[in-house]
């Protein structure tokens, strides 16, 4: 109960909320300068989300990977690490799942879990590389992770081309049904919206995020290392191995995001020109959510909704959908520069304090 109270403590909620408002405002200003109608744009966005069961289902589908990547980034942040490599770990997760899904032929109760676990472990190991480089060699984890992102992209492409590709095409053979994790009856019910078990797993991961960090001893170690690695060392904790472990767990979350895109949505993997972007959006989600479980959940809903609804903006108000990237970018700019937000709010906060004083 106290924990719930802590999250909804007014001051810690103020910055994210105001940042969202400021971000939406920035988007509106940009649109207005471009000669577009911000109100029409935003309302087309919202209406797209709720306009049909199909759209609502797809919105959920679009939010799911952000939950995974948001948790991945938030988890790493809590342990003092900036996991920018989520893009690459997501990709390796996809590749791992696709490999198992295409090449192997097993009964469903083995095949699907194996594909999930393989993808998750691929993601975890990929992240552990960056973690190890940081712990053992002091390599800046941001640059190394970005490099690993690109390497993951080309490695995945190579694997698809070499082992999985269909003749004359740029995509792999389809993943066998025994590995797929769609929720068929729900897909039917929502007019073919691509619903899958990954959404449920994502919610479980949110709970896991909380449990691991705040209820286990290993989480205690990770938080200590994240907050003060010197004190952690003094206290006898193995700082280096803790860093690697936490990157591994973070990578598992990221990898799961990729896994379910394959096993729940697409069913095949193509040769790609670039990574998908869920990783960077995961950073946005984690930042907005204050690296808390509930915050990540709500942030994923917001950004996932904005992303999915943005197509509605171009249909409904002829606005380039990228304006949503500007909105999201602005929101996290304000969250990251919370000093600016507090500075803007200073006159309002002082009035509140004065009113309180007078009332007292």
């Amino acid at each position: 109960m106290d924990y719930i109270k802590k999250i909804f403590n007014s001051s810690s909620l103020l910055v994210p909320l105001v940042s969202i408002l400021l971000g939406l405002l920035t988007g509106a200003i940009v649109m207005w300068f471009g000669g577009y109608d911000p109100i029409a744009a935003y309302s087309s966005l919202v209406s797209r989300l709720f306009s049909s069961p199909y759209n609502m289902g797809e919105a959920v589908r679009s939010i799911t990977p952000l939950i995974f990547t948001g948790i991945a980034v938030a988890f790493a942040f809590r342990t003092g690490l900036f996991n920018i490599g989520v893009e690459g770990q997501f990709m390796m997760g996809m590749t791992g799942a696709t490999l198992v899904g295409v090449l192997l032929d097993l009964p469903w109760f083995i095949h699907a879990p194996l594909a999930v676990v393989t993808g998750a472990v691929f993601g975890g190991l990929w992240a552990a590389i960056a973690g190890y480089l940081k712990a053992a060699r002091g390599v800046n984890e941001v640059i190394s992770a970005i490099m690993l992102n690109w390497i993951a992209l080309f490695l995945s492409n190579f694997i698809v081309v070499k082992f999985l590709v269909m003749e004359g095409q740029q995509k792999s053979h389809p993943i066998k049904e025994s590995a797929m994790l769609k929720i068929d009856w729900l897909v039917q019910a929502l007019n073919s919206a691509r619903m899958h078990w990954g959404t449920l797993v994502a919610i479980v991961c949110i709970v896991l995020f909380y449990i691991i960090l705040w209820r286990t001893k290993i989480g205690y170690e990770m938080r200590a290392v994240g907050l003060n690695p010197e004190a952690a060392h003094y206290a006898g904790m193995n700082v280096k191995s803790t860093m690697v472990k936490s990157m591994f767990i973070s990578g598992v979350f990221a990898g799961l995001g990729g896994v379910f895109e394959m096993l729940g949505v697409f069913g095949y993997q193509t040769v790609m020109a670039a990574t998908w972007g869920y990783g960077f959006d995961g950073i946005a989600v984690a930042l907005l959510g204050g690296n808390t479980p509930i915050g990540v959940f709500l942030g994923a809903i917001l950004f996932g909704g904005l992303n999915y609804g943005s197509a509605g903006m171009s249909f409904g108000a002829d606005v380039p959908p990228e304006v949503v990237r500007i909105v999201i970018g602005s929101i996290i700019f304000f969250v990251a520069s919370h000093g600016i937000v507090k500075w803007i709010l200073k006159p309002f906060l002082r009035k509140r304090a004065n009113n309180r004083k007078e009332a007292a």
Partner: protein, 320 residues
Amino acid sequence: MEFLNILGQLINITLVFSTALIFTALGGLFSERSGVVNIGLEGLMVSGAFAAAVATDYAIQAGMTESAPWIGLMAAAIYGLIFSLLHAVSTITFRADQTVVGVVINIFSLGMAIYLTRSLYHGSSQTTTLQHVFTKVNIPYLSDIPLIGNALFRAYPTTYIAIAIAVISYFVLFRTPFGLRLRAVGEHPSSADTVGISVTKYRYIGVMLSGLLSGLGGATITLTTTSNFAHNTISGQGFIAIAAVIFGKWNPMGVVGAAMFFGFSQALRNFAQLFEFSKQIPTEFFYMLPYVLTLLVLVTGVGRGSAPSALGQPYDPARR
């Protein structure tokens, strides 16, 4: 002879790819020497590439074909500088986390650039291909020297500008009062503060220089290689530039060398198709090469001890 010709070509192409890295890395150098980490170089390059594409296009349409690329270059520098102010205000005045803000700038710049591209080009996510970009300049006499002539003296004007800026940077950083003060601010800001030097001012300048130079770096790619701007025009070069700063130990000449090393790895991609043995290696591995090399360089730890001591720490006068 065949081999020497190819070597000359290789060096030539290395210079082409290195130029953008040199500009951007020099920008990163100034920012980091003043103590501010700038992960947003990628986004600043994107902004520069975009601005150059649009400005050049409009200049050509306005009839100024000869000077169009130069106008594009200037536009890129200005646009990059403006974007860098976001980073500066946030991290210097409001003391936000420099790494996080840098990542945010990257996301924001790309979004802005694509949005504006779509607005200006009727929904297309690429700018129109420019008909008039930079062409290689042959330096008289020098370019006729066998091998070296082709390698070094037939380059885009941007390459010569980049090298010139590198030399000027070295001089400014290590021989002028401005450079001394900038370095002091990055090593031990309270020393500078207590002799009356404004830490804030020098850090702003450092970050703004990184915006200006990275903008030029992005413009170089548009105006010499791709002739347009799309979402994948800049693909990691900003981050490679950061690695070049580290590898070059925060020294302008070292940075140039490091940038050329990475540029070389990008140039190899073009040469993969030419040789029998390299045709066997899957193209994906050539694409990976610059990134793998960067990673290996980072792992060796070269340059790790040479960072400015106050790098990444916001300066809080109250905690002197």
